[in-house]
């Protein structure tokens, strides 16, 4: 691996380390703070499950972050992760509780602003909505869980010592579950920005089991989280466990479980699919903040007791921190990128071209983008998605979906399906029918990514997107990933 790549990845690892130091405290803080679980035990269990969660089911939320802004140069990813990490670290040092996901979202927006890329407002709103929903949901779950637990314990009449032993075991179990969810949900924050520029290649451990490049990236990130847990989280754990609100071990357990459930709800692809299959509304898969979930759960329990125990002043301080974090990270990323590009002469984003050829225009019109927006722009080209959008919205305002369609269609991405690249292509993810369709395109060249997708879908229904409903999301998501990999592999210029 290139040494520069390793150095650049370092910022992601730094972010992972600070996530381990801070957010892991949310998982085991109450257990360690109430002295129910020893720090060593907590750190060991936490590390193992963070790694498992990240590698096994970390892909779900990463996808949403990639959609928010596709940072396409590793130096850009470096700055985004570094800006987020510094923000997280700095805020912690100044005593403000942090949210890593907010920092990274802020950093991505900073990159979008710098590279004049369009920020997908729909995705951004979805993420911001969950920032509100996450603490409220955690609070509600905590209250319900607390009432249920209290009812059960009243019925069960357990001996104090037996209850203590069960709670201890339950805290470790809940912590493990929480760490798994933390890994699955937050690894996207640590390594998500590096996904489009991953330096790794797929690696077959056995015939059946392959560690994909993304999984290797996530493994590395989760090890950084584990190091953060061992080296720096003890003090934070004790603070979280003692300072938020006086808590009994059982309450501590309720908080951890409520927090874990929320993190799991926002990161489980399996749950999303199961809900969709049952015809129920699905929960958006976005990286949520574990600090927000924990604080939501604690506030929920505090309110249940009449709110007298809650330190409202501290809550206002926490809320202020949540508002400041994304802005700070965005500003820091923007300034950092400026220096990286102009002082260190690094490419922080690819030079893109958007061109509105008659074919593109026709295709966009078919996809429902009103012609009035670009009738005068045919034949022109633009250097960034922001410039394209500015030109188009002069004519008339566009919806979020229309904006996305326009950007996706106008972006020039030359691809050439060469025999050499085909012979090296990893077909393991593709079905037989998909493979045959791809091989039929040997020798073909395309100017736009959508042309390649269209050519493939004409050859096989398995390369065709299904209607956009929740039940088809998993298939479409996989198809998008396959196409993205395809384009990355066969990109010619």
């Amino acid at each position: 691996m290139d040494l520069t790549v390793l150095i650049l990845l370092g910022s992601g690892l730094f972010l992972g380390w600070s996530l381990g130091a801070n957010d892991a405290a949310n998982v085991f803080g109450t257990a360690v703070g109430t002295r129910m679980v020893r720090f060593g035990t907590a750190a060991a269990v936490c590390s193992v499950f963070v790694i498992l969660g990240a590698v096994v089911s970390g892909a779900g939320a990463a996808h949403t972050l990639s959609k928010l802004g596709s940072i396409d140069a590793i130096a850009g990813s470096f700055m985004a992760a570094l800006a987020a990490a510094i923000t997280v670290y700095g805020m912690t040092r100044s005593g403000l509780p942090v949210s890593t996901s907010q920092a990274i979202v802020g950093a991505i927006i900073g990159w979008n602003l710098f590279s004049n890329s369009v920020t997908d407002t729909q995705v951004l709103l979805k993420i911001m909505f969950t920032w509100m929903a996450c603490p409220i949901l955690a609070g509600l779950i905590a209250v319900i869980l607390f009432k249920l637990v209290r009812w059960i314990l009243n019925k069960a009449n357990l001996h104090l010592l037996r209850l203590d032993a069960y709670t201890r075991l339950a805290l470790i179990g809940a912590g493990a579950f929480g760490a798994y969810s933390l890994g699955a949900n937050n690894i996207a924050n640590v390594m998500g920005v590096f996904v489009p520029v991953s330096p790794f290649t797929d690696f077959a451990l056995t015939e059946q089991f392959t560690l994909t490049s993304v999984q290797q990236l996530f493994l590395l990130g989760s090890i950084a989280i584990a190091v953060g847990v061992f080296t720096y989280s003890k003090r934070v754990m004790l603070t979280v466990g003692n300072e938020l609100m006086p808590m009994s071990p059982v309450t501590a357990w309720v908080v951890v479980v409520a927090h874990s459930i929320v993190l799991f709800l926002f990161s489980s692809q399996g749950l999303e699919h199961a809900l969709a299959e049952a015809g129920l509304p699905t929960i958006p898969l976005v990286p949520v903040s574990s600090s927000q979930a924990v604080i939501g759960a604690v506030i929920g329990l505090g309110l249940l007791r009449g709110g007298r125990n809650i330190r409202w002043g501290l809550l206002v301080q926490i809320g202020t921190g949540w508002v400041i974090t994304p802005f700070l990270a965005a500003a820091m990323c923007f300034v950092g990128l400026f220096f990286l590009q102009n002082v260190f002469d690094q490419q922080v984003h690819k030079s893109l071209r958007f061109e509105l050829t008659p074919r593109v225009v026709e295709r966009m019109s078919e996809q429902g983008v009103p012609k009035a927006a670009y009738a005068d722009l045919v034949g022109r080209s633009y250097e960034s998605s922001g410039a394209l959008l500015d030109a188009m919205t002069k004519g008339m305002p566009l919806t979020g979906k229309q904006t996305r369609t326009a950007i996706d269609h106008a972006r020039i991405q030359h691809t050439e399906i060469t025999e050499i690249k085909l012979s090296r292509y990893d077909f393991s993810r593709l079905s037989e029918v998909q493979r045959i369709a791809l091989q039929k395109l040997a020798g073909q060249q395309y100017q736009y990514a959508w042309e390649l997708a269209e050519a493939l879908s004409a050859l096989s229904p398995q390369w065709r997107r299904l209607p956009t409903i929740a039940l088809n999301r998993r298939f479409n998501k996989r198809l998008d990933e396959d196409l993205a990999y395809l384009i990355q592999t066969f990109e010619s210029r």
Partner: protein, 223 residues
């Protein structure tokens, strides 16, 4: 928490179970000592400090000694295994308070054995009644303490009984003291007899103190 791979010790909560038994056993000792105390007093009032009384005295000392050993073992285990970290202090104090009740029982018997108060027959029933009330009062606090571990909602019920019996003991103690001081006995004897009324009544007062703190512990123990 230590997990043993030895099949014989594979029960995950083995140590917890042993400790639960030890706590129960400790409370058994307090109850047992109450019974020994009232029997010993009955023997003393009818036959004086005879061999039977001495046997009860020895039994009381032995029970108190075993109680002490159990309490120490429990305390060490609670700390060594870092059990119930949030309530450990409360449990330790509860055990010490219960141990204090045992000490008062034992101490009273020793005082009787050493000082051998001369109790006129007319006051026997008064002393016996006071003793029964006081022992019932302590027994109620033992039940309250057991409930603290097993059935938190019952603590309140038992505490109410403790308060009731303590008031009863006060009334009986006062009545007995009035009767003593209204008699023709010399002042020194009156004061000697009053001393033992107060010593016996102290058991009920201590039991009530335990009940009061137990009520606070019970609120803390509710999750």
């Amino acid at each position: 928490m230590r997990f043993s791979l030895n099949p014989k010790k594979l029960t995950l909560f083995n140590k917890t179970r042993v400790l639960e038994q030890q706590i129960d056993e400790f409370f058994d000792k307090v109850s047992e000592l109450g019974l020994v105390f009232s029997s010993a007093l009955e023997v003393y009032l009818t036959d004086g400090a005879n061999d039977e009384f001495d046997a009860f005295l020895q039994q009381a000392a032995s029970i108190e000694g075993k109680g002490d050993t159990l309490r120490r073992t429990i305390e060490v285990e609670l700390y060594a295994q870092t059990l119930i970290p949030d309530l450990r202090g409360d449990v330790l104090r509860l055990l010490e308070d219960m141990d204090h009740l045992m000490n008062v029982y034992e101490g009273n018997l020793f005082r009787i054995s050493i000082q051998q108060p001369d109790v006129p027959e007319e006051f026997h029933s008064g002393y016996l009644e006071l003793t029964r009330t006081v022992v019932t009062c302590v027994e109620s606090v033992v039940l309250a303490a057991r409930s603290f571990f097993r059935d938190i909602n019952a603590v309140r019920d038992h505490n109410a009984k403790v308060i009731f019996y303590e008031t009863e003991a006060d009334k009986k103690g006062t009545r007995l003291q009035r009767a003593i001081f209204a008699s023709d006995l010399s002042l020194d004897r009156k004061m000697h007899l009053r001393y033992f009324v107060e010593r016996i009544d102290e058991l009920a007062n201590s039991a009530e103190d335990v009940a009061d703190t137990l009520a606070i512990y019970a609120i803390k123990r509710r999750i």
